[in-house]
């Protein structure tokens, strides 16, 4: 009877002093300090809570000329409800997810935004107060989560695949949304067996449409690997017992392998049992180094295990194999995970956003035959790396990423530029946005009918703090430095978000 497993896991927790939500000081209300800081630092608008439950604008104002073949929908996701009842969350990653759709058609660009109606969102909206702990916040009188599903905020990524639109979080079910209306259809199970299992926010989709993903269950030291067909059917699900569970946000695929990088930010069950939030139950243990697990795609077995120096990476661009036993991939590598506990938390009370290690574009080479690894810094403070999706897991020359360029005229501490790295020559082509634009992720969209890696557009959002509006910009990906071909502006602002993807119109 499976109940025994469940009981045994609880008994381990009981033994170390389980369940006392009142033991640690509950979250102090940060609303007043945040608004005081916002009055002096307009960029904090990006971390304010969304002003409406939903957004709809049929026709955005467009500056410049959109390329006629660019037709489809740019979906994005991010935490947008940072205040529940009287409580303002203490971490950027806590807020409930809102999915945005920017629809490019003959009629122009339309925008809509809807909160993902997760179980958490529905229950807390009805109650008018937080009911469960968040990722990094323990609201007063809220309860500890019985399972990851209870704190699933579906706030990280929006992914169209096999006719579905999925809102993704890190450690729970995907939520399915109607791609046309953004109405939530419910938690999506790939099979009965996957209900309630972690499904990460960073699946990798291969050129043929096959989807790979991982899920991490740190309280079980268990890694799950998913292989889903281009038609959206679960082909394989493998559970792998790990020696240790670190915080893993993203992973990589090549033509033959999956790569999971486990940083030494390790989950400590005793800490969550003692009443710490999920985030604060992770401890930085640099002496343990970074573990790299390479799996065979053919049967999801472990192929190689390698070690790297301690580091922490949220995002990778792409991985590929050179045919001579070397796997290469790019990472926005931080020398430690301090930003998670520093800037990404401080900002919610209006504090220093840049406290903690910043991410730097790094090329990592794994020599599978020798079992050695090399890390080469390419220069620049970068995040949200993306590549041409036609080259997912194949050799890519270019990586697109947002950057933070040193700038004395800067009026915000966020990303202020977008660029293209040439991984062969290490050359960069960069466009720096006007000082008042806080830059969000930019993605590559192939031009329909083209094949060349340079042939497409770069699309990304930003928050213009002078105009107090969110914008979406489109660049010719081969001429980024020339600036955007067009910018479409919303008549309102949205909280800063995380990731998005484009679904091209068929036909």
């Amino acid at each position: 009877m499976r109940r025994r497993d469940f009981l045994q896991s609880a008994l381990a927790l009981t033994a170390v002093g389980l369940i006392n939500p009142g033991r640690l000081p509950a979250a102090a209300n940060q609303t007043a300090p945040f608004h005081t800081a916002l009055a002096e630092q307009p960029w904090l608008l990006g971390f304010d809570t969304a002003v409406a439950q939903s957004f709809d604008t049929p026709q955005l104002t467009i500056e410049g000329a959109l390329p006629p073949p660019l037709r489809g929908t740019f979906y994005r996701n991010g935490p947008a409800k940072h205040v529940v009842g009287a409580l303002r969350y203490q971490h950027w990653f806590d807020g409930d997810g809102m999915v945005q759709a920017f629809r490019f058609s003959d009629a122009g660009v339309a925008h809509s935004g809807r909160f993902v109606q997760t179980d958490k969102y529905r229950r807390e909206t009805q109650a008018g107060k937080p009911l469960v702990w968040g990722f990094g916040t323990i609201p007063p009188s809220a309860q500890p989560p019985r399972s990851p599903a209870e704190i699933n905020a579906a706030n990280i990524n929006a992914l169209p695949h096999a006719g579905r639109l999925l809102a993704l979080w890190e450690a729970g079910d995907a939520y399915a949304l109607d791609p046309d209306t953004l109405e939530t259809q419910g938690a999506y199970y790939w099979s009965e067996e996957t209900a309630g299992l972690p499904f990460s926010a960073h699946p990798r989709i291969e050129p043929d449409g096959a989807l790979w993903n991982f899920g991490l269950a740190p309280f079980r030291n268990m890694l799950l690997l998913y292989h889903i067909s281009p038609q959206g059917h679960l082909k394989q699900l493998e559970a792998v017992q790990l020696e240790k569970s670190g915080m893993v946000h993203d992973f990589l695929v090549t033509e033959r392998h999956l790569i999971i990088v486990i940083p030494p930010l390790l989950f400590d069950r005793e800490r969550i049992a003692a009443g710490h939030s999920f985030l604060d139950s992770h401890v930085w243990r640099p002496e343990q180094g970074t573990q790299v697990l390479v799996f065979n795609k053919s049967d999801l077995s472990v192929y190689r295990t390698l070690e790297l120096p301690p580091s922490f990476t949220f995002h990778y661009g792409n991985a590929w194999e050179d045919g001579n036993g070397t796997i290469r991939f790019d990472a926005c590598r931080r020398h430690d995970a301090s930003a998670l506990f520093g800037g990404l938390r401080n900002v919610m009370r209006g504090g220093d956003f840049n406290q903690g290690a910043s991410p730097h574009c790094t090329l990592i080479s794994l020599d599978i035959r020798k079992g050695t690894a090399q890390e080469d810094a390419l220069g620049g403070e970068t995040e949200f790396p993306r590549v041409d999706p036609r080259l997912s897991g194949r050799r890519n020359r270019f990586v697109y990423a947002v950057l933070r360029l040193p700038d004395n005229s800067s009026v915000h501490p966020l990303f202020n530029a977008v660029g293209r790295y040439d991984m062969e020559s290490s050359r960069r082509e960069i466009f720096q946005y006007p000082a008042e634009v806080c830059v969000e992720e930019h993605i590559f969209i192939p031009r329909p009918g083209s094949t060349a890696e340079t042939d497409g557009w770069l699309m990304g959002t930003g928050l213009d703090i002078k105009r107090k509006c969110t914008q979406v910009a489109v660049f010719d990906a081969d001429h980024i430095a020339d600036g955007p071909l067009a910018i479409a502006r919303l008549p309102y602002w949205l909280p800063l978000g995380f990731h998005g993807n484009f679904a091209a119109s068929s036909g």
Binding site: L7, A12, P144, T194, G196, L197, F219
Partner: protein, 142 residues
């Protein structure tokens, strides 16, 4: 044709009657909520931490999940410390179904409505005392 339920409808009653009725026993009335009207409910009464951990029930009731709230009575229970665990056996396989990580996929709950963190609560958190007066407990299955 629908398969007849293995569970019987009505009020679930477990009469203990282990002790002569000398006034040293009481009834525990349990009102269960939070389930849909399919399958059955399994309600277990434990009289010690060891019993709870090893899943050795002091007594148990199985009943059709026909309407919220559902009433279960443990009758003539001797004084002592007890705990109740209940789950909604939606598919009538007499098991609290769980995913491959051991997380239940059917609703469950405990006396005192205590919750665990990524697991069930311990005995102390869900236990209650039985003396000589009848008790009524509400349990919300989630």
């Amino acid at each position: 044709m629908r398969t007849p339920s293995k569970y019987t409808a009505g009020i679930g009653i477990l009469a203990c009657a282990l002790l002569p009725r000398l006034g040293l026993a009481a009834d525990i009335e349990v009102l269960l909520n939070g389930f849909t009207a399919t399958g059955g409910l399994q309600v277990a009464l434990y009289d010690s931490e060891v019993g709870y951990q090893s899943e050795k029930m002091f007594g148990g009731v199985q009943i059709r999940a026909h309407a919220n709230p559902l009433r279960v009575i443990f009758a003539d229970i001797p004084p002592g410390q007890y705990a109740i665990a209940a789950f909604h056996d939606k598919n009538e396989n007499a098991t609290l179904d769980a995913n491959m990580l051991g997380i239940p996929t059917e609703a469950y709950g405990f006396s005192t409505n205590a919750r665990g963190t990524f697991g069930p609560p311990g005995f102390e958190a869900i236990s209650f005392m039985v003396e000589s007066t009848p008790l009524t407990l509400d349990i919300e299955l989630k």
